[in-house]
Amino acid sequence: MTQYTPWMVVQGEEYESCQAQQLGSGILIGKVVPHLVSFVGRVTFNSYCVHGYPVYNAVKFNRKLSHYPLLQEQNWQKFISTGSQEEQNGSFPYGIYPVILSFTANFVMTVFLTLLSFINIKGKRHRHAARLLKIGSTIASVNIVIFVTCSLKQLHNEHEENGVTTTGGIMDLFYERLVYSILDLISFFLLQLCQVMIVTRLFYRDSEKRMTFFLGVLLVLAANILWSIPQFATSDEEQQDRWEILAPFVYLLRIAVAASYASTIISYGILKRRYCLASSQMVILSVITALVVLLQPALFLADVSNVWLSGVGELFNSTCYVGSTSIVWEWLERLSVVRKKEEAQSILGRPIYEDEQGDYRIANYALRVQHALTQRTPNNTDSDNGVELEQMSPSSQVGTSTRDTGSSCGVVPQNSTERESVYQVNFKQKQPFAEAAKQKVSHACDTLLYFADQVILKSLGTLSMGSKKSITSANREALVRKRIGLDRPNEVYVYSTKDVNFDSDRDEDDTQST
């Protein structure tokens, strides 16, 4: 029997039937015996065992004609009886059938969700994230298809050669084949990136979107690099000792990240509960979403408490990732449809937040322009047009105070930074070093943020660069013409006008008449 969790100590019992047994002298009958029948003076029987555990024959067995020796039967009964923790390897959940069931269920779910993501996720909005999801889930599906095929082939070979089918062979295949590890790494990385983009979608402010994206990508990169180190480290014993602590740490880090993702999605669902309860379909989808995102932490708890099969979380990893990405994506899409439907009935457009203006530059600039204009206005008596503007209170005080200092030509006293005109241009003013350095750093940061906004966020959001390219100007023109009704110029519509009476008006009339 195999050891599912590498860092777990399995103290198995020693089974006598797995050791060589002296049967004494007797007649051997069989195809493997020379001349079919032969007398042997000293027979040593060695039962087939895997990793020191007995394995029962899987073929059709006639107990009356031939049966196992008493020792084998006793050992087998001892092995399958569930006693203490370390003896549970012989229990039914660790048998071949639950493992096959787990893998095939995993296979069906992953392939189904992949197909669903190809059918359902369309549109040019969030196209990068959608592509990542499709590629990641396809790689996960390919991986599970290859694995199920190989494991069935291995079971067939084992049955042909030894007449038994063992779980150990499949689990060894799962943990030790490098190709599965590489495909797992790629698909998990892509799906985790997609999860980051999903979390980015939950925020409305650009600054928060940007920060979530950077932090998420950093976390995903760190988690995957750390995960790949023990996976691809050489089998050198010294190196294994060095990295042995890293494997459980990364395992826990993944669970922690999955739990954080689940809590983020669920808290967002609670915040938007009005949309989640908008229709029965949305309620069902919301419940499924909550269950799917909680699946990975729940499987971790199932693993450590050993309720079903230790290490089952690892088997279902790909399903968890594909599910918690594609189902959440669909849920968010539907939520946004419900939200837009509601927004269409009220004020359209996305709100602009104050922290999207870096250092309030736009606001400051607007205020300075406003200030400068108010300084200049009182002197601007346009005599050519013959228009005299009479300033009204209360702003007359401001105008009076600035009248003397303000110049009609835009000449501003040099010692007053407050009185800088918007028309003033300063050439080659030597900046102090600290200010220049600050400006350089700020420029570098601005460039980085611009890159993030233009290349990453805008492609995720409403301003898709690709969509701009793909829609030709003719199409756009046709769209606009259709919107304003110019595509059907010959159709004439007659609108009837009708007075609208409010109940309150009627009440007022009634009270007046009485």
Binding site: L215, S263, D355, Q391
Partner: protein, 209 residues
């Protein structure tokens, strides 16, 4: 006033989280009373474990990662509650790390309360950002305890779940505080620097032509 209440609430939550994280650290072998987990005749803490005999309690030296003293004690190999390898117990290092990070966050939040740093959106952004690894480490502590001790976890171990929830609440409140301070600063900027826009009456137009 409302900002003061929010900061006080954050400080309260982070203090509770800090106390909750301190208790597992001072468990056996530092103190004899508290234990992170108990299993048969053994009690476990972050820095070691103790074996209770009929007369006395024998503890391992204080260090990160357990050492197997079973041969010295009873001649039998003792297993950990979740049958984990002894090397996995080195992961308990996340407990002191998490405590240190939470302490730093506590100091940062205290600075918000007692200084004028609370009015700076940038400082609040840094504090809110710092609260994210604090939450992650706190959650990791709980997961490590669950992995090593599973259902044998004693109440100081379960307190880590409470600490994680407290830190999560703090994290959420800090981000909200950053938003509200940012809005407040923006509004203050408007009210302070607003210059009245002159208005002109159309009645007083006089035309030369």
């Amino acid at each position: 006033m409302s900002q003061l209440i929010v900061v006080s609430a954050i400080l309260l939550f982070i203090t509770v989280a800090l106390v909750f994280q301190l208790l597992p650290i001072v468990a056996v072998p530092i103190s004899k009373e508290l234990a992170l987990a108990t299993f048969y005749n053994s009690t476990y803490g972050v820095f070691g474990w103790c074996y209770i005999t009929a007369n006395d309690t024998v503890c391992t030296p204080k260090r990160i990662g357990y050492v197997d003293l079973s041969v010295d004690l009873s001649g039998q190999r003792r297993v950990l509650p979740a049958f984990m390898d002894y090397s996995v117990t080195r992961l308990l290092v996340v407990h002191p790390l998490s405590f240190a990070i939470t302490s730093l966050l506590w100091i940062m939040v205290l600075l918000i309360l007692i200084t004028s740093l609370g009015d700076s959106p940038r400082y609040l952004f840094v504090v809110a950002l710092f609260s994210l690894p604090t939450f992650l480490f706190s959650l990791l502590c709980f997961l490590v305890d669950i992995l090593i001790f599973i259902s044998h976890l004693a109440w100081p171990g379960w307190l880590m779940l409470g600490a994680t929830l407290c830190v999560a609440t703090c994290c959420s409140l800090l981000w909200n505080l950053r938003r509200s301070v940012s809005i407040k600063k923006y509004e203050a900027l408007h009210s302070e620097e607003r210059v009245e826009v002159p208005t002109y009456s159309m009645v007083h137009y006089t035309s030369n032509g």
